[in-house]
Symmetry: C2
Subunit: 352 residues, 2 copies
């Protein structure tokens, strides 16, 4: 963090995006602000609801209790000079209030600047504890899916199946679901982000399930598509195309590779199979304390993959009115090959 402040010519950073406060301090309350100086000092501010919690969770960061988080942090810090704030997450009104507050303090001359996505940049590369949390969330997710797919499935509604899967994740130790579970049967599987309905699953349906558990604040993200009964040729064909594209994308997730490379690798396979024009969503994203976080994978994204980044790869083929296939894994970038954390079969499962 100190290096990032220096690179931005900042004397201090005011971190107010809650997930970034949590990342840097361990504090999980819903209202906190953190002041870091380039000299290495740190101070957390929160309100009276969280005084005890802040003390317990952040033993190495002094915490103050106040209603005026940013104002009191800055008052205590004195003249911090050039201060970076999280303009990508701070509202205009909060920024205006902070500037007015600073202007009213005649004794200090703080200049507001943008910290940019500095903390998000740090969060891209996970430490081993973080990788372990994502891995546990992924293991719970795939175990719950395998239980669910053991069936029976025919005749059950999408919503009920989503609740069943979530219930299994909780029973296996999830603290929450990572996001609203997608269960999409038959023609609904062609809708990339379908919201589950009471439509009952029928023989011949593709069944697409996009889901994940959350453990210690860290998310899993996994999608599998199976078929109820004997697959039709078109179902086999699009599934094989997506499976091969997904594998190519995953294989490209090695340390130091350009972020755009896994995208290009997967798209090339879809293109050669003739299905690229039926792929309409994003192909991958970082996953950690947020379900979608940096780095986002795509043709226009710059930078290189850092070792121990946890990222999804999720190509798909969507045929409106008929059905669709998506296969998605959460992987950890590694030097020779990535490690797949959502480790359950990617072959076309025939279920019932």
């Amino acid at each position: 963090m100190r290096g990032l402040l220096e690179a931005r010519d900042l004397d201090a950073a005011l971190v107010t995006h809650q997930v970034n406060v949590r990342y840097l301090t361990g504090f999980t309350g819903s209202n906190g602000a953190l002041l870091l100086t380039v000299a290495g000092s740190a101070m957390l501010a929160t309100d009276g609801r969280y005084t005890d919690q802040a003390t317990q969770q952040c033993r190495d960061v002094p915490a103050i209790t106040t209603r005026a988080l940013a104002g009191d942090l800055l008052a205590k810090a004195g003249n911090v000079g050039r201060l970076g704030v999280e303009t990508h997450a701070m509202t205009v009104d909060a920024h205006t209030a902070l500037a007015a507050n600073l202007a009213a303090e005649a004794s200090t001359t703080v200049a507001l600047a943008s910290l940019g996505r500095a903390v998000e940049q740090l969060r891209e590369v996970k430490d081993p504890t973080e990788v372990d949390a994502v891995a546990r969330a992924c293991a719970i997710s795939t175990e719950a899916l395998e239980q669910l797919l053991a069936g029976p499935l025919v005749g059950r509604g999408e919503r009920e199946l989503a609740r069943d899967l979530e219930w299994r994740m909780f029973a296996l130790g999830a603290e929450a679901v990572a996001f609203d579970t997608i269960v999409a049967g038959g023609p609904h599987s062609a809708v990339p982000h379908h919201e589950p309905t009471d439509r009952a699953l029928a023989p011949g349906d593709l069944l697409k399930i996009d889901f994940g558990a959350r453990v210690d604040g860290y998310h899993a993200d996994c999608t599998r598509t199976c078929v109820l009964g004997e697959p039709a040729d078109w179902q086999r064909e699009i599934h094989a195309a997506v499976r091969d594209a997904q594998r190519a994308g995953v294989d490209a997730m090695v340390t130091g590779a350009p972020v755009a490379q896994p995208d290009a690798a997967a798209r090339q396979v879809l293109d050669e199979a003739g299905w690229l024009d039926r792929f309409t969503t994003g192909i991958g994203h970082g996953v950690g304390l947020q379900i979608h976080e940096d780095p986002f994978v795509g043709p226009r994204h710059l930078g290189r993959l850092g070792e121990r980044s946890t990222i999804t790869m999720e190509p798909g083929v969507y045929l409106p009115g008929r059905g669709g296939v998506r296969i998605e894994d959460t992987v950890v970038v590694g030097p020779a090959a990535p490690r797949v954390l959502t480790d359950t079969t990617r072959e076309l499962l025939v279920v019932g």
Copy 2:
């Protein structure tokens, strides 16, 4: 909305806070912007993922598909003059980008101003369809609670009970839970916003449950506190104090009353009972498309209660290390008396 624009001397409003876009148009996607002019025209912008959905959900508002939502809306609208934006919800970076975009368009002279919480102000008073959705969410919530409290309860963990209650709400028709369910047993009940653990419920425990269902986007919010086995005198005493305070607060929720009045009424009862210093949280808030929304009830809050506002009343007494009681209802403000939507007993239930 037109009146609110006129009162702010605005020629148009750019609504970008998603819940406000939903309120005004019915569009439930995660990325939309709405431009409204004081002359009465409206246009929605969203991205390619939501083209069909926007057309279906917003039949009376023309929609355009673009990646540059605000920019393209304004380009189509031409010179709108003084434009109000939602500075309380818009990030600094989004505001800066919008201003730069406008400055680059030599043909228009749009002046940015703040719309303030104009849409939140409209949302305070619900129309009958909205009240009905909140009422259905509340009915599901209380029915699920009654099922859960039928027991057995002793020996079960807080987390497992929370999942059980949520499962029952889904089975009764909830589309989601309104917020993370709080189940707090024994000393944990003294923590206002306790996160459920695996601690097993034991005889003699107070059991505090704060929970709700979501239906058609609208939230329910309800808290009840019961006791496992014969209540101790101190448990009866704090429960009675909270029950009486809560009733006084609810009774004060009549059309046209100052927003601060229910707060004063409830606090007076707690004060007379000698427990006011053990009440440490907010006492009530609006509930609707968001679980916490305007109006917030408290001593320093201005304004008057509007008919058909849906608001919570939730005093409590918290004794650290021993236990706590909170009782919370969601009510609809009415002319002579409010209607309580979370209609299940507020007496001290003895459960097991």
